[in-house]
Symmetry: C2
Subunit: 265 residues, 2 copies
């Protein structure tokens, strides 16, 4: 979306499609295309939101054949929380009839959601990926890092992040002090920091599940394959099993919503 | 220190002093001048460290009349923690004979220390200022902010940061969702974020004090006057009284250490 000029969504879509699509087609889109900076701002739908409610709330773009899936808003824990696009990935990760489970979508703004095939109950966002990015690029912690991958440093970070109850703004400083005292090699700094942030997310996510008596539900991780592997490893270190969902969850979700909305047979 | 070229410390000091100082003077310095990137790397002294131990561990720079105060290292909570310069400010904030108390030094890397006139027991670092800086300058949260000061937004951030147990990487996202839903004006975003981070530091700092049965000790805040005011207000919102220490704590601390080391009468 960030590469499309203002007012350029139709041209961008037509360029993508070429001449190769049948007259009378319907189009379904999700994600930031429905945000204030997108093609059409679609109001957030309240949680819990079932598949039928999402399908009924599709927003048509002007007189086009294009509809946009609304994002979701929840109001747990005293502050609003929002998603756009992940609702579609979540529904795509769940087959028809799938039972209640936890879906984790790692990323810039990681989401933890409680959902079943019929819909999404609620969710929580953790700024793990964005914190990693800004600290890696712009903080004193990043300046200590050299290029390299270090699985042991990642695991050490995860363990400290999961177990530590000292506050994230304090725990993060251990990245500096371990490097300064030679206990962490420069090539391990980035992976330690990544593990620490993911570990802290897992600890807070687990508390969030416990408050909803949902800590025993099965967990599915959905998203970029490399990130899914990282999160699955981190969850295993925290003693939690998880499987990895389909790589095409967004397409599957759009299909389920389109079918529910009778855009397809 | 960041403005002094490699090997340029002597020239920088001479430029600062001019011709106007008596032959036979002694000089005492503290802070990052004693770090690996400073004039002379001075090993960290272990905590607890009393005034006598600090004075005995001064490191002379070559054959000059310049000595550097060592920084401190502590090993609580499973990871090392370090300071350079703050040990001198802490001792400068305590008059001879002053009883045990908590000293908070807000900043890029905020310190909470347990200390009395005779020395420093232990301390903890929180990356509050650096997190604020990188999130304000480089994250999606900063992009939502417009210029402005908003005391109510600061207080709201402090209250949420102090009370919230949802994890910092989740709590931070409330900055975005409150702005997105119109519950927080763009001019309040930066102050809300600042309050949230300071509130989270206060909550974690309070737990740190509780674990040491030190939560009832008096608190003194030492540092930049504007930051001290912010922290005192935030502590008051958390129900904790604090006073503000002398603005020249570093100079006072250097004097106390110099006297102990018999560099001055």
């Amino acid at each position: 979306m960030q590469n499309v000029p203002v007012g350029g969504f139709r041209a961008a879509l037509e360029a993508l499609l070429g001449a190769d699509w049948p007259v009378g087609s319907s189009f379904l889109a999700c994600g930031m295309v429905g945000s204030r900076q997108g093609w059409l701002e679609v109001p957030y739908l309240d949680c819990p939101a079932d598949l039928a409610a999402l399908a009924a709330a599709l927003a048509r773009v002007g007189d086009t054949a294009i509809s946009i899936v609304p994002g979701l808003i929840s109001h747990d824990d005293g502050v609003p929380d929002v998603m756009r696009g992940e609702e579609t990935q979540i529904l795509g990760a769940l087959e028809d009839g799938a039972a209640r489970r936890v879906i984790i979508l790692p990323g810039t703004h990681s989401k933890w959601a409680l959902a079943s095939a019929s819909g999404i109950e609620t969710f929580a966002t953790f700024m793990t990926g964005e914190l990693y990015g800004v600290l890696r690029e712009h903080s004193i912690l990043g300046r200590l890092a050299s290029e390299g991958a270090d699985a042991a440093a990642f695991e050490r970070g995860v363990r400290f992040g999961v177990q530590s109850d000292i506050g994230l703004s304090r725990a993060l400083f251990s990245t500096r002090t371990l490097a300064l005292t030679g206990a962490l090699a420069p090539a391990g700094v980035a992976d330690y920091l990544s593990g620490l942030l993911i570990g802290a997310e897992i600890a807070a996510g687990h508390r969030w599940l416990e408050e909803r008596a949902a800590q025993a539900l099965p967990i599915t991780i959905v998203g970029d394959a490399m990130l899914c592997t990282r999160y699955r490893r981190a969850l295993a270190l925290a003693g939690v099993d998880a499987d990895v969902g389909p790589g095409d969850a967004a397409a599957r979700g759009l299909w389920r919503i389109a079918r529910q909305a009778r855009l397809v047979a």
